[in-house]
Symmetry: C2
Subunit: 227 residues, 2 copies
DNA sequence: CAGGCAATTTGATGTTCATCAAACTGCCTG
DNA sequence: CAGGCAGTTTGATGAACATCAAATTGCCTG
């Protein structure tokens, strides 16, 4: 793993993230200065459940799976983090140990924020505090949405939801390019890869065609009926 | 619905909640002063998904279901809130509209906090900000745990988990008194009431006996094997 | 204590999805 | 271009759970 201070281009990427957008001037600078950039291999563990928590992260490039393991070794993704997303910021005020695992999906670039340092910044700077609260709130809302969706919707409905949220248009035909392997999409939707594949098959009569990562939608409005 | 300012006994209850424990002096007083107490009937709607968000709440007495509805009218609980718990505090910095429904399960007493007022307090008082962040962090961790548990564990395992977390002892026999109807427990665990009942049946050979709300556990360590 | 209503349990059935195995695809490398 | 490998799809099967209906329990009220 390669560590270094923030370069100019990485700074630009960080500014677009949930945590830092909304910050300016000195608040922004202080938070940026506290970060270290890590280049990581695919499938490298960022942290493990039960470990003492000493940092949270922002994804600059690549994807990170947050997941839990059952005692028998089965594996369930809880969240898939994309470029621009923050994870484990709940550890700033959330207890001593990580409560889930984090692993890169492919090679990834992460900005690492030291928890102790950020705690100090949050106490001193109400703008930073507000950014952290916004970030936490959004994640809580998203995660509650996930619980509801898991409990309420079938696999094809969840897939249709995902596609519709990423559709550029309201009606007529559209296409969506998956930003990652179907493997990750399955984890994000709480499905086994086979179940995702079958969900796409179920949607085919509704005008959804799959070619690799490219998904063609015949009629967006028709797809909305599935949900 | 009966509204009034905080009485002395309600003040005592509020002090024990996640949001206010940890606060003292002026910070505590300011937040307390902003609250209004509401007495509510059973099954009264506190707010609905899509409504403009103007308040968050703390449960003083009774129980509140947070849930989402599917288009066809099916119903899925996302969280069951108990006395001492805060809900919808994610709306302080989380967008304009409520993203789920809240309804009292039985007659309930709630402390209502105006969002605008609390936003002002959070900006001015870093102690209050810290309390809000702690609250958000804990809820996020709990909700992520819920996603993982739904995806990883079967119904009997989730029931066993619930019982074990509430067991006074580490080994030997124990008993757990459910604080509410099995209906609510089913919702909390993401199960239909029938599925909860069957999960208890599955646990009977493992020494779990059910009599109304009183659950007897023959051997706590044996039950831990189920998980 | 009887009656009535709501909550819970039980039975029967169907759907949804996980799992295992095998075929297939695409991509990359030698 | 052959070979290999990971990712994906398809088929067959089974487990888990929802749903509907009916029986039962528990609790409250008159």
């Amino acid at each position: 793993m390669n560590k270094h201070a923030i370069t100019e281009s990485e700074r630009g990427q960080l500014l677009k993230t949930t945590l830092l957008t909304g910050l300016q001037g000195r608040s922004l600078q202080r938070l940026l200065d506290s970060a270290i950039v890590e280049e990581r291999e695919g499938r490298s563990s960022v942290f493990r459940q039960g470990e003492n928590a000493d940092a949270f992260y922002c994804v600059l490039n690549g994807y990170v799976r947050l997941f839990r393991l059952s005692r028998e070794g089965r594996h369930a993704d809880v969240r898939i983090c994309q470029p621009g997303e923050v994870f484990a910021e709940c550890m700033i005020y959330g207890g001593d140990d990580y409560t889930f695992n984090a692993q890169t999906a492919d090679t990834a670039t992460l900005a690492r924020f030291d928890l102790g340092t950020v705690r100090r910044l949050v106490e001193e700077d109400s703008n930073i505090a507000r950014s952290v609260m916004t970030c936490l709130s959004q994640h809580l809302i998203d995660t509650m949405h996930c619980v509801g969706s898991d409990r309420l919707n079938t696999a094809p409905q969840r897939v249709a939801d995902y596609l519709l949220e990423r559709c550029p248009t309201d009606r007529g035909p559209a296409s969506v390019q998956l930003p990652f392997q179907k493997n990750l999409l399955a984890g994000m939707l709480g499905l086994a890869p086979e179940a995702l594949s079958r969900a796409f098959s179920t949607l085919r009569p509704r005008g959804v065609t799959v070619r690799g990562r490219m998904i063609q939608i015949g009629d967006v409005q028709a797809l909305r009926e599935v949900v």
